[in-house]
């Protein structure tokens, strides 16, 4: 009797395992196949794609990539890299300074300032859109590189400060005291002691920030609608409208836009997950 129920649960267990395994596999196919389809279509000739959209490409048409590159993607890519690098640098630097000040220096109204900085987390970009456009138009910054740099930095500081601050809170006080005893100024303590100790969270913050900036669409579209200054997400949509029926070129452009972030994700997975976990979990 006992053995019979045992084997029954075992049987149910293996059915369950097979079911779970096939479910996980199907889900992986659902995720991968569209991406594979995108890459394949980027290699097809236009006729090939229109006549047999689901087959493997008959030959690898690298020209699609060349065409996409020459029809604007090179400039979108350059601008995306420029905006991403500079805004990530300024964001992380300002956030690290802010976090240092808020956690390790005795400043007046510390609590109020912390609330103010972190309160920025609650502001949705769409909510501030109209006043920001008016403001940037009045300042003459509309349709310029500076608009994106300022907006991305300003909107990312709360989150990055929050990440770095919670990490700094866990660093022992004795470190600062030891540095002070050795005669280090607060600035030297920050650069030589605290910042190097925060390296793991800084890397996480950089990765999250790069992903955000690289993929941001709303601000990029509204503030650089002029045309000659477009980041990749906005550029791709204009590539799409300009190349009406030459779909493989659009697919090639999409692949070019996706590769850097996918590579970055796989290269930095550990830090990335850590950053997400710290950002959400604390």
């Amino acid at each position: 009797m006992v053995t019979k129920t045992m084997s029954k649960t075992k049987f149910m267990g293996s059915i369950g395992r097979i079911f779970i395994a096939s479910f996980l596999l199907c889900l992986a196919v659902v995720v991968i196949y569209p991406l594979l389809w995108m890459v394949m279509n980027g290699f097809k000739s236009n006729g090939d794609m229109l006549s047999s959209p689901f087959s493997w490409p008959r030959e690898l048409n690298w020209q699609n990539y060349v065409k996409a590159w020459n029809r604007g993607v090179s400039s979108y890519l350059t601008i995306s890299i420029l905006v991403t690098v500079t805004s990530t640098l300024t964001t992380i630097l300002i956030s690290a300074w802010a976090a240092y000040g808020l956690t390790r220096v005795a400043i007046p109204f510390n609590r109020l300032m912390t609330t103010l900085v972190l309160g920025g987390l609650m502001l949705a970009p769409a909510v501030a859109l109209v006043p920001l456009v008016k403001l940037f138009q009045a300042l003459g910054l509309y349709n310029t590189y500076w608009a994106l740099l300022i907006l991305y930095t300003a909107f990312r500081i709360p989150f990055c400060t929050f990440l770095i601050r919670s990490y700094m809170l866990d660093l022992p006080r004795e470190v600062d005291e030891a540095a002070e005893m050795d005669g280090a100024s607060p600035a030297a303590t920050f650069w030589r002691v605290i910042l190097p100790m925060c390296r793991p969270i800084i890397v996480s913050a950089v990765v999250l920030n790069v992903l955000f900036t690289w993929n941001e669409y709303l601000f990029a579209m509204v503030f650089t609608s002029g045309g000659d200054f477009q980041t990749l997400p906005v550029g791709l949509t204009s590539l799409m409208s300009k190349n009406g029926t030459d779909y493989p070129v659009v697919f090639a452009g999409m692949v070019i836009a996706a590769i850097p972030v996918v590579v970055l994700f796989f290269a930095s997975q550990r830090y990335f997950i850590r950053g997400l976990a710290d950002g959400m979990g604390k």
Partner: protein, 238 residues
């Protein structure tokens, strides 16, 4: 605003977005993360987590354009798949019809986002002391029961947070709708974000755009306050 039918369409679409996203990206992702973390091979767990995450790394613009093509009536993967399964009668212009457009966008958004929340839940599950699961295994507790009695209660904070973040995100949707349909056909897939944009920047009615912004603001700020309250309460408990 109250007399504007498109405003209501947009608001309802945002609500649909929130409901589906909570089902898929909170409950679904939690269950999926529990299944993945229950696997024996650490290597396999890592591969699955990373694979499911890829769509979240590529931008919503790329994902949106990709699905624009997937839903394309002639060339698209979806109609092709239905054809090959012999379900020709189901093929249609997914984004070109008023009753399917928003659902096509919502489905794309789930594809793009579920890996991200699964990853976060996986991290939360990893933080649960493994002794609890070992003890349950010794007592002969089955997988489903472990999920109800250990995983669910001990990831409740993350679940609550994800719920708020997901709903708040659903009310700020913009990118994918803009890329895939621009709110069409006939405004059927407008959401508050795209209707705000259209009102302000296409029809030049900045006042109306600001009014829509206020609605988004109220929704997101209420959710943020709930989140704050939630976080504070948790701190006391710990």
């Amino acid at each position: 605003m109250m007399a504007d039918p498109v405003f209501w369409t947009a608001l309802i679409n945002n609500v649909f977005y929130a409901v589906v996203s909570v089902i898929v990206q909170v409950s679904g992702a939690l269950a999926l993360a529990a299944v993945i973390e229950g696997l024996r091979s650490e290597r396999l767990r890592g591969i699955l987590r990373a694979t499911y995450f890829i769509p979240s790394a590529i931008s919503l613009t790329v994902a949106g354009l990709l699905f624009y093509f997937i839903y394309e009536p002639e060339l698209g993967l979806l109609n092709g798949l239905l054809d090959s399964l012999g379900l020709n009668q189901l093929t249609q212009a997914w984004l070109g019809q008023e009753n399917t457009a928003i659902w096509g966008i919502i489905a794309m958004s789930q594809w793009q986002g579920f890996g991200y929340s699964t990853l976060l839940f996986a991290v939360a599950i990893q933080r649960i002391p493994s002794e609890l699961y070992d003890a349950a295994a010794i007592d002969g507790v089955g997988g489903l029961k472990k999920f109800w009695t250990i995983t669910m209660p001990l990831t409740r904070e993350m679940t609550g947070l994800m719920m708020i973040v997901t709903v708040a995100g659903s009310f700020q949707v913009f990118n994918e709708v803009m890329v895939m349909t621009s709110g069409g056909p006939n405004n059927s897939s407008q959401v508050l974000g795209t209707w705000l944009y259209r009102s302000g920047f296409v029809r030049n009615d900045f006042g109306y755009a600001a009014a829509i912004a206020t609605v988004i603001f109220v929704v997101t700020i209420v959710l943020a306050l709930i989140q704050l309250w939630y976080g504070r309460r948790r701190r006391v408990e710990w």
